[in-house]
């Protein structure tokens, strides 16, 4: 169908797009090893010195700690809420099932500022002070969908006959859940949790509206970029954040055979 020249042109195009996607990421990693504190191309030489000074920076440490705490808490909450919803919905056909799926996707489908400002005005209306808890509530809200999508996709692929066989053989509901259902969905739970962690660890828009005086790592990066200060440290932190968000995603993709990385999982 496509002649030789069309194929060649398409191949070249594919290579160019790949370069477009990955050259910026490579640039970031190179700058992390920049010897100078001036961000200019080409970098003057390679050095590891900014890694040490970034690690010593108390602000970076505090932000990292807050990010990890927030992401862990939001992931745990999303794991419970998202899998509850998936177990409830997957085999019971009832009215409003699509509406419930829609409800969970909404925080990711609506522009981030809407979620951010809505939660912000909700917290101030109820006189909740902005703290790590308000950040966690915000993050949980948009992380539920990732767990939900992963678990429900797995449940749809598993066969109900396994559960029925267990019950025929005399297992009670708890035994069936522990020995049959849980092993079947366990990797999808882990995958969902990892995606939720990555999503939370990297979030900036909703966080700017729901955090008070605290800085998560992305907020710290945003502040430093905005003021143009401590850029050598930003290079290091940003490279670190790329790794922290990509590694869980790669693992979760392996666990679910690529299913976790579907676009429904969100950003």
């Amino acid at each position: 169908m496509e002649d030789f020249w069309t194929r060649l042109a398409l191949r070249i195009w594919a290579v160019l797009i790949m370069l477009f996607l990955f050259v910026p990421l490579v640039v970031i990693f190179l700058y992390a090893f920049n010897q100078s504190n001036i961000e200019s191309w080409p970098i003057s030489g390679l050095s590891m010195k900014w890694f040490a000074s970034t690690w010593q920076d108390p602000d970076v440490r505090a932000a990292l700690l807050l990010s990890v705490k927030t992401a862990l808490a939001a992931t745990a909450l999303a794991l419970v809420l998202g899998s509850c919803a998936a177990f409830a919905i997957h085999r019971t056909p009832f009215f409003g099932r699509d509406a419930i799926s829609f409800l969970f996707v909404l925080p990711l489908a609506l522009p981030g500022i809407i979620t951010g400002i809505a939660l912000r005005s909700f917290f101030s209306f109820n006189n909740f002070d902005l703290s790590i808890w308000t950040i966690i509530v915000g993050h949980t809200t948009f992380c539920i969908v990732v767990v939900y999508n992963n678990v429900i996709a797995r449940l749809r692929r598993t066969q109900g006959s396994l559960v029925e066989a267990a019950m025929d053989l005399g297992a009670n509901g708890f035994q069936t859940f522990k020995d049959i259902t849980l092993p079947l969905v366990s990797t999808s739970l882990v995958a969902g949790a990892m995606l939720a962690f990555a999503l939370s660890f990297d979030e900036v828009i909703v966080t700017t509206f729901t955090s008070g005086a605290q800085n998560t790592l992305p907020i710290w990066i945003f502040g430093a970029l905005h003021n143009g200060r401590r850029l050598p440290e930003v290079n290091v932190v940003v490279s670190f954040v790329i790794l922290v968000t990509i590694i869980p995603v790669v693992i979760s993709a392996r666990l679910t055979g690529g299913g976790a990385s579907r676009i429904q999982a969100g950003r």
């Binding site: 002649d3 191949r11 809420l81 809407i114 539920i144 509901g173 990297d202």
Partner: protein, 303 residues
Amino acid sequence: MATETAGRPRPKGGVSGLRALMWRVPWLRAVLLLIPPVGWMLLVYIASLVLLLITAFWTIDTFTTQIVQSWNLDNFRIIVSDPTYLRIISRTVGIAAAVTVTDIVLAFPLAYYMARIASRRVQTLLFAAVLLPLWASYLARLYAWILILGHSGLLNWSVQLVGLPPPNIGYTVVAMWIVFSYIWLPFMIIPMYAALERVPESLLEASADLGARWWRTLREVVLPLVVPGIAAGSIFTFSLTLGDYITPILVGGGSSQFIGNVVYGNIGIANNVPFAAALSIVPVAIMAIYLLAAKRLGAFEAL
């Protein structure tokens, strides 16, 4: 776990009252499980959105900056009548549209290559390669472009290397357009690729058998079948650009405010939450219209 209505084994052994009840009323278990997650979403999220909508019709006392809960349309009147806000809205929508078109153009040949020409192995590899940047921190990818487009960045350096004058496009609307197109590109590639992969080979063969050249087959057979995928991708590229305010602050330069920036500004310094709420309804309304149009194009089946 007994939820199937037909041929369910009756729970054996000591059946507690609740479990027996759940067996008799299959949806009861679903409802009990749904209470925590749906309760969370309704109490936190939907309540917040409703409050936002209501706040938009309130106003603030200009002296005390306290919210006055009196119903009026003042905020919307200001948005519609002040040319500054109209300019910001049309800039936001304009760039969101430009980014969407750019991403369609960039993504289509790659998606076509992935779906129809690349070998199975290359296909999987490219798919993973497209997804990876999507998960690499948003701020990281944004920052990469600050470094590349800046005055002494990679772009100016390489253009000068070829002997041309440096383009100096850091901190302009053009920079914003490039960065948005870059960051949201994977969101366009994936649904487009999925749509292209579903185009049956037999249709293309039939078209070729009937004498259509490749270009004509592409235009009259492939493209119409890919429209739902394009529409699905464009929901992401359009919506995500529309709601962004970080990129305009960091790479847009002085005169590149987005709707989001005004919303953010009114939350922080001015503390005029009702006005911010009213303004934030603008992108929601635009997205609602956009989603309706996308639904007509079949975008939801392609997601």
